[in-house]
């Protein structure tokens, strides 16, 4: 078993990578912790508490710079929060019936779906969107300053009704596996709503804090939260993520996308290997 200082170090690295990619870091951290003998449900719960800090820390910069779409975020939180509570309750049930192995396989499967979706679809710099009535009613639009392009970019979002079940599913996956569900949220926002990549990463970080709180509340009641694990993870992932948030505005959407794909490939290989050997 690792000590508090190792937990802190792993968390710093995971937080940095996670923040740039909008993943929240837990996707990287949970496989590392279970590798060192932390039971998966405790890794999931501590990661979830850490995600609140990671995402909120990164989001504080994104929101101030106008990169996060706050309106769209509140709308989507309706579905992610309910989903997270359902998902976290499922984790409690899985542990209760001693089917923890299922959590590993679900983790790997979830990674694979994010990879497939983003690998094929995440190519456009600025998507064209035709707004439907509901999107207009919810006033889903925004503007942000794109540093590499050196200009203000206005955008409109569409299809909020279609995004709702996607966000609900993202919430379930997040609550179930203690991950932010960032990859899935990003793909729903970009592919369904037509959100620009950088806005989508920034908005996902914002939503993540609420999704994680909803799930963490259930883990708390289930007795999965260990404070000596949650504390170093929260510090480490946040410090790492704050550094990442300073780097992100200077990257092009293409760089972010390519990095995202590389990390996903590595994690999928890791989880498949772990499932195979367990």
């Amino acid at each position: 078993m690792i000590g508090v200082l190792e937990a802190l170090l792993f968390a710093i690295s995971a937080g940095f990578i996670g923040s740039i990619l909008g993943l929240g870091g837990a996707l990287i951290l949970t496989p590392i912790l279970t590798y060192f003998g932390v039971p998966i449900q405790y890794a999931i719960a501590a990661s979830m508490v850490a995600i609140i800090a990671t995402s909120s820390g990164a989001a504080s910069s994104y929101v101030r710079e106008g990169l996060s779409n706050v309106r769209a975020a509140f709308y989507m939180e309706i579905f992610t929060a309910v989903g997270a509570i359902v998902g976290a309750s499922l984790t409690g049930y899985i542990v209760l019936i001693h089917a923890e192995a299922l959590l590993y396989y679900l983790f790997a499967a979830f990674l694979a779906t994010s990879f497939l979706a983003l690998g094929t679809m995440r190519n456009r710099e600025i998507p064209e969107v035709k707004q439907d009535g509901m999107a207009k009613w919810l006033k889903l639009e925004g503007t942000y300053y794109d540093k590499p392009a050196k200009k203000q970019i206005d955008y409109k979002l569409g299809r909020p009704a279609l995004a709702a079940p996607g966000m609900f599913f993202a919430g379930i996956a997040a609550g179930l596996l203690g991950i932010g569900g960032g990859a899935f949220k990003i793909s729903v926002q970009e592919m369904i709503m037509g959100m620009p990549s950088k806005v989508s990463t920034a908005t996902t970080n914002f939503i993540q804090g609420m999704t994680a709180l909803a799930a963490a509340s259930i883990y708390f009641t289930s007795g999965f939260v260990y404070l000596d694990l949650a504390a170093p993870l929260a510090i480490g992932t946040t410090v790492g993520s704050l550094v990442g948030a300073r780097v992100l505005p200077n990257l092009t959407n293409k760089t972010v996308r390519n990095l995202f794909l590389i990390v996903l490939v590595v994690l999928i290989i890791d989880m498949v290997w772990k499932g195979y050997t367990s």
Binding site: S60, R64, V82, Y145, I218, L227, P232
Partner: protein
């Protein structure tokens, strides 16, 4: 950069920044105390470090009452985690208030619903 950011965004950014900074400072203090007291031993995943038998609000009241009597690593970390979990909670409350002042009833409804879901999650059991 010369672009307009709403006062809600600025307020939320401030809430997130303060909440995360204060909670992490406490958690860091807890981790330092823990390391001084135990050395860098293996993580202790025993019942002493786990909160059991209640919901978040029970945890919060236990934390607030016990921090006064002892600044143990556990109590300091607990206070940090408590403030951390209250941070997104406070920012959704800020959303309700902001949209209320703006008389944007659609978004008052949306943020109130999110608040109700989170409160239910924190108060179960």
């Amino acid at each position: 950069m010369g672009m307009k950011v709403s006062s809600l965004s600025l307020g939320i950014s401030w809430i997130l920044r303060v909440g995360v900074t204060v909670s992490l400072a406490l958690e860091l203090a807890g981790v330092i105390l823990y390391t001084i007291q135990t050395g860098n031993q293996s993580l202790d995943l025993s019942a002493a470090w786990q909160f059991k038998g209640g919901n978040f609000f029970d945890f919060a009241s236990t934390t607030v009452t016990s921090i006064g009597s002892s600044l143990s690593p556990l109590n300091v970390m607990s206070l940090g985690v408590m403030i951390l979990m209250l941070t997104p909670y406070v920012r959704v409350v800020a959303g309700v208030i902001y949209y209320g002042v703006q008389k944007d009833w659609k978004y008052v409804g949306i943020t109130l619903f999110v608040l109700a879901v989170i409160t239910t999650g924190l108060a179960v059991l």
